[in-house]
């Protein structure tokens, strides 16, 4: 028995394939539970399952993803492990070391070292995020005035230790990938809102 749920004002189409699954009531009394066990054991349900596996195997037409060889594409706005982007034209690091991401981070998991470089600019010599603490809220990407720190699609961050880090080298777009056009802008939190230009007040210039 399938029945469609009436979704109100949700961005799901009329012909949505969502439906409730009918599930039999769980046995409550001891006797009912005993009956269920006997029934299942005698029915040979186990072999039904084994047969399905066998059948699919010999058909060589499997619909599961061959993870980790194969990965499902992930939404561009998904908030996984961070990336540090570079400027398109010059290839310079976008991050100016303003420290706003560090300040806003509610898990207090960002740290950076800065110094004055040979050109009297603020240089970020190291940047680290403790992924064991990060809750992937996206505040850092949202606050960044330079669109430098963004979220990427790398969601695999299992580790043997609670505290594990990504550092600048892991996050910064390598120059060859930049030249190859492999760096992409992040459309999630912090991205430029369409029509931003119109809301900027210009400073008068007398010359």
């Amino acid at each position: 028995m399938h029945h469609e749920e009436v979704f109100t004002d949700r961005n799901v189409s009329e012909h949505s394939a969502y439906y409730y699954v009918d599930i039999e009531n769980y046995p409550v009394t001891g006797w009912d539970k005993f009956k269920q066990v006997v029934k299942r054991a005698a029915k040979g349900e186990l072999f039904v399952g084994l047969w399905v596996v066998m059948r699919e195997m010999i058909k060589f037409d499997i619909h599961t993803v061959q993870y980790p060889k194969e990965k499902l594409p992930i939404g561009p706005r998904y908030r996984a492990v961070h990336k540090l982007l570079r400027l398109w034209e010059s290839g310079y690091e976008r991050c100016i070391g303003c420290g706003l991401c560090e300040k806003i981070c509610i898990s207090d998991c960002i740290r950076m070292d800065t110094r004055i470089d040979e050109n009297s600019r603020k240089e970020v010599t190291e940047y680290s995020i403790n992924l064991g603490r990060c809750i992937f809220c996206g505040y850092c990407a949202e606050v960044c005035p330079e669109l430098a720190i963004v979220h990427g699609g790398r969601y695999e961050n299992g580790s043997e230790q609670r505290a594990h880090f990504v550092i600048k080298d892991d996050m910064l777009t390598p120059l060859d990938l930049l030249t190859a056009g492999e760096q992409s802008e992040y459309p999630g939190f912090g991205a430029i809102i369409p029509g931003s230009d119109a809301s900027v007040k210009k400073t008068p210039l007398a010359y």
Binding site: G99, L100, M112, D113, R121, I167
Partner: protein
Amino acid sequence: MNEITITIDGRTVQTQEGEYILNAARANGIFIPAICYLTRCSPTLACRICLVEADGKQVYACNAKAKQGMEITTTTPNIESERRAIMEVYDVNHPLECGVCDQSGECELQNYTLEMGVDQQTYAIKDTHKPAQDWGLIHYDPALCIMCERCITVCKDMIGDAALSTVARGSDPIEAAFKESMPKDAYAMWNKLNKSLISPNAGDTLDCTNCGECTSVCPVGALVSSDYQYTSNAWEHKQIPATCAHCSAGCQLSYDIKHTSVENPESKIYRVKNEWNYVSLCGAGRYGYDFENKNVTKDAVAFDAAIAAFKQADTIAFTSTITNEEALILQRLKEKFGYRLINEEARAFKSFLNAYSAVSGTSLYGGDLGEVHASDFVVSIGSALKTDNPNARFAMNNALSMNKGAGLYFHPINDPVIAGMSKSVTQFNHAPMMEEAALYLILDLFADKAAMPSSVSEYLAGFHSTKTVTVEETVDEKVTETVVKKVLNEETGVEEEVSEEVTKTVKKKVSKEVEVDENALFALLNAPAGFSDTLTKYLAKKERFSLMVGPDLYTHPNASNCARLVALIEKYTQFSVTMIPNLSNTLGVAMICDLDSERGSYTIGYNTAGNFTLSALGGGDLDMPALNQQEGTLTNIDKRVNPTNAALSFSGYVLNDIANALGLSSKYTVDYTAQLPKQAGFKATCFDALPNHYTNSGEEVRGYRLDIQTVTVDTDENVTPFDADKAINENVVYLANPVLQFSPFTAASHQLQENGGLYVSKTFMESNSWNEGDRVNVKTARGELSLNVIADGKIEGDIAYLPTFDTAINSEALFDGYRFACVSIQKV
């Protein structure tokens, strides 16, 4: 000054007559925007944002004085539009650099821009190219400068170097249309701002005593510490309130700490900050902060060796860079085990105080630096003021510049910094050993001769003689002349010559013999020519007199006579007297410890040499925490017991651990704070109850002041005459430190690291044709050292000095207590 009542925004406020409206408001927690005004300095009217309405008239709150019954409104629609325009002007062409700027959120420009609600820009002018400048310890970025001139003001009115001034900016004139359309004060402010930039007087780089106070007062990121630049954001720091460990001024400061780096989570001190409206730091306090004893762990073997050494020892030698609590631990150990406590410099100060008390009847001197700030006539005797206690110099300079004051500076070494403080300061570069003469001169000039012991009055009278001198005077003289005039004879119509007598007044110079009083003390002290006239000028309309005496007197061979003279000055003149303790906690040590003069056979040295050394500098037999790793109290020149906190952790053993192992019992060192000796004026207040801050009215709420005890006085007030033959007239060497150095602790900090040598003035160096770095043998009656020559641009004359901050140079060994010695210097 009279207490008056004024009304600010309907609130009744009590203040002093003549107080600036801004200060009255601040003291009562009423906010008036103000950028260029610095408390304790003169108003410059650079920003004009402090506009208020007083009795219906628009005035500047920072320079308008409160009068009884004044009605003040802090905002009116006109004032609001002025303030908004002023902030818009400040924002014209200001770089959008907040993201990297070191002011990072502590910026007054940001704050006021938001406060005045500036959300768009009406004004514009062509920008000029203003490259950043490197001034050594200080970095100036003119692009961020808003020309509030606070740096110039503090350097002149407070510090006394007057090393900064304005130079032309070279920009276009402001568009004429703005003059009509803009609020009046905003236009005037812009006009001034648009003309100038800040520049060191010395040209491209800064030549000053490097206090860094200009960076401290700068409201924006224009002046910053070069070392700190771009290393941190202000909000990342935890501020540890503390007391500076380097000299007896005991300035309040805060150590700004955060983790060392991404890799290293250990705390590190990044910079020092101060409440610049109420306390000014010198460069040692500001830049010499990382003197901690690094990487120390609990070394049980060394600790056991220390305990064994204490059991064997009969003497503990130490310096005065320790807390009061540590001093008390040492005193308790002495009481329990009979150690001799050796600290020569504190013992000299203590005997000086005792000799002083025997005449004055008080355990401590009556003055303090606050009194010096408020004085209008300041005298300093026996101290190389700018390096012995920089804050004493600031106080003197502040008094001279703010109170239209005058001052006398008695010291053998000519100091161009003192000379530069004011036109009304006279230096007496007397010969060493003539300090008593200087004290006698003060008595002679200012004491109530009738009240003073007659023997002293008579002795002083002996220096006076009347001399007949010839002076040139200009007098008006009447001269009668016969002139021949041509007069028209009306009857005949012919011109006739007529002689006529006319009387004219002409100015004429005449020589006159007059009798003048001659004071032989002037010549004995090398007074500049015409000093008695200068003094008369100085003394016009003077009301508050301060005398500061320094370490030269404590180690003087006739120290106790000097002390008695100082007591007489305090007693029989209007001078309030302040003594400058030699080192950070010399006063505390002198009040707490019973000090001995002779060492025994086995010495424990604490921060000084001994058979077994405890050292906070590292390299000793057992490591101790430095003063930025300890909590405790320090007693400063103002007789204040100030708390200081540990900015950095220390994982080794502390003196209290040793004391506990030897049978004293106290969980923490600061448990001793409440036990500091009452009879010496300390209070039974526990450490955690000691405050450490300034209020908005500038009141210093730090620790507590020692109670001054009454002491039984000697029956007589006799002082002995001085012996002018003892004066050391040439080949003199002095024991002092260069600017920025006080002890091995200042030299241990990474920004102030340097090697000592023989310091000489540039002229002295030239006259000997020495060059910087030349090797010389310095020989006195007590020993010899081979050193490099170093030029010190901040002294003049022929007296060289040897430092105490460099542990590689044992300068003290060349001196017999007194800070001056006869020397022969040979180039090798």
